[in-house]
Amino acid sequence: MFDVNLLNEPGQQNEKTADNSISFDLDPIDIIDRKINNKEVTNNLSENSKKKDWFLIIIIILIIGIIISVLLGYYFQKI
């Protein structure tokens, strides 16, 4: 496939074009774990979303706890 890279050796190019791809020597796990300025680089990354999930669960448990306490308090006051 026709692909121009003037960094190749001059001369016939047709067999050299396959070498023009950009590649990074990176372990995929390395990409996933990276953070920039405490912000995830990648979308949908597990670590941050897990933290958010736990935070939500704790908040919901607390709210349910408060509601139950209020209801119980109200019930015992009536008795």
């Binding site: 496939m1 026709f2 692909d3 121009v4 890279n5 003037l6 960094l7 190749n8 001059p10 001369g11 016939q12 190019q13 047709n14 023009n20 791809s21 950009i22 590649s23 990074f24 990176l26 995929p28 990409i31 996933i32 990276r34 953070k35 920039i36 300025n37 912000k39 680089v41 990648t42 979308n43 949908n44 990354l45």
Partner: protein, 292 residues
């Protein structure tokens, strides 16, 4: 934390650098910076592009797309090795060979040759070597856009297509791909409803067809022949022409917008019009071989 690998693409057009920086991420290339800056001195300001993203702690690598200013092209029809050799000796004398690096691309009908001034190429390579940054690719305007189109769009089902560049003074550049191979590189000028080819490098049997096809864009007789897609972009081109292409309401005309296909970091949302975003098409060699 180790530095992030980053790719900084620079394309040079007239008095401007267009640049775009990206880092690899789980969902593909993530753009962290892009923009334009005026060329103020002969040396490319590599550190300027790095400084703009220094908060990311990056390990940069560059790609550069040059303008046609220091490039020469020719197309030599191929007959047999003896005649080809004789042709080559007649076309290139010793002074030319010592001044230019020549890149030869075999096609069905002959050789398409790109020649770059050695002094220009060496100057760029030495500048970047001096800074100790790696240079991953050195390409040229519309040829870099082709690399980008191959990365940004799914071309699996298309064999015949055109990359079309609209420039100042109604100059059009075209890269014709037939059967997924280079067919010809054409430069011409639009004059009202007419289109005159000023330079043609490729198989001459298609020259008239291409001229007719381009003329048909401007005189309301749209005739794409067997071309399946026209990928177009504009760098300072006539806005009316770009609007004309979009007014065809044809899915065969595609305005190249690299940003549509890329993920952008939160602080990096493009606020330009689609046609102005297409000016970044020549940064395509920064995505060579990467499926976006």
């Amino acid at each position: 934390m180790s530095a992030l690998p980053a790719l900084i693409g620079i394309s040079i057009h007239e008095n401007k650098y267009y640049y775009l920086s990206w880092i690899p991420s789980e969902s593909g290339p993530l753009v962290i910076d892009y923009g334009t800056t005026i060329i103020k001195e002969q040396d490319i300001p590599f550190d300027y592009f790095i400084d703009k993203i220094k908060e990311y702690n990056i390990n940069p690598r560059f790609t550069i797309a040059l303008s046609n200013q220091h490039i020469k092209y020719n197309f030599l029809e191929s007959y047999n090795p003896l005649i080809d050799d004789w042709n080559n000796r007649n076309n290139y004398d010793k002074i030319f060979q010592s001044s230019y690096d020549s890149y030869i691309y075999n096609t069905e009908d002959g050789n398409f040759n790109i020649h770059i001034l050695k002094s220009i190429k060496n100057n760029i390579v030495n500048q970047i070597k001096h800074k100790k940054y790696p240079l991953a690719n050195l390409s040229i305007g519309i040829f870099s856009a082709l690399t980008g189109v191959k990365s940004w769009y799914n071309l699996e089902n298309f064999g015949n297509y055109i990359i079309l560049k609209l420039s100042k003074r109604n100059i059009l550049e075209l890269l014709i791909i037939r059967d997924r191979q280079f067919s010809s590189y054409v430069v011409g000028q639009k004059n009202n409803d007419n289109f005159n080819i000023t330079s043609f490098f490729g198989n001459k049997k298609y020259k008239e067809d291409i001229s007719e096809t381009i003329k048909s864009f401007f005189n309301n007789s749209l005739d794409l022949k067997d071309y399946e897609k026209i990928f177009y972009y504009s760098i300072g081109g006539n806005k009316n022409d770009a609007n004309l292409f979009s007014s065809f309401n044809s899915d065969k005309f595609i305005l190249i917008n690299p940003f549509k296909r890329l993920n952008l970091d939160d602080n990096c949302n493009p606020k330009l019009s689609e046609i102005n975003l297409s000016s970044y098409a020549e940064l395509g060699n920064a995505f060579g071989g990467i499926d976006v």
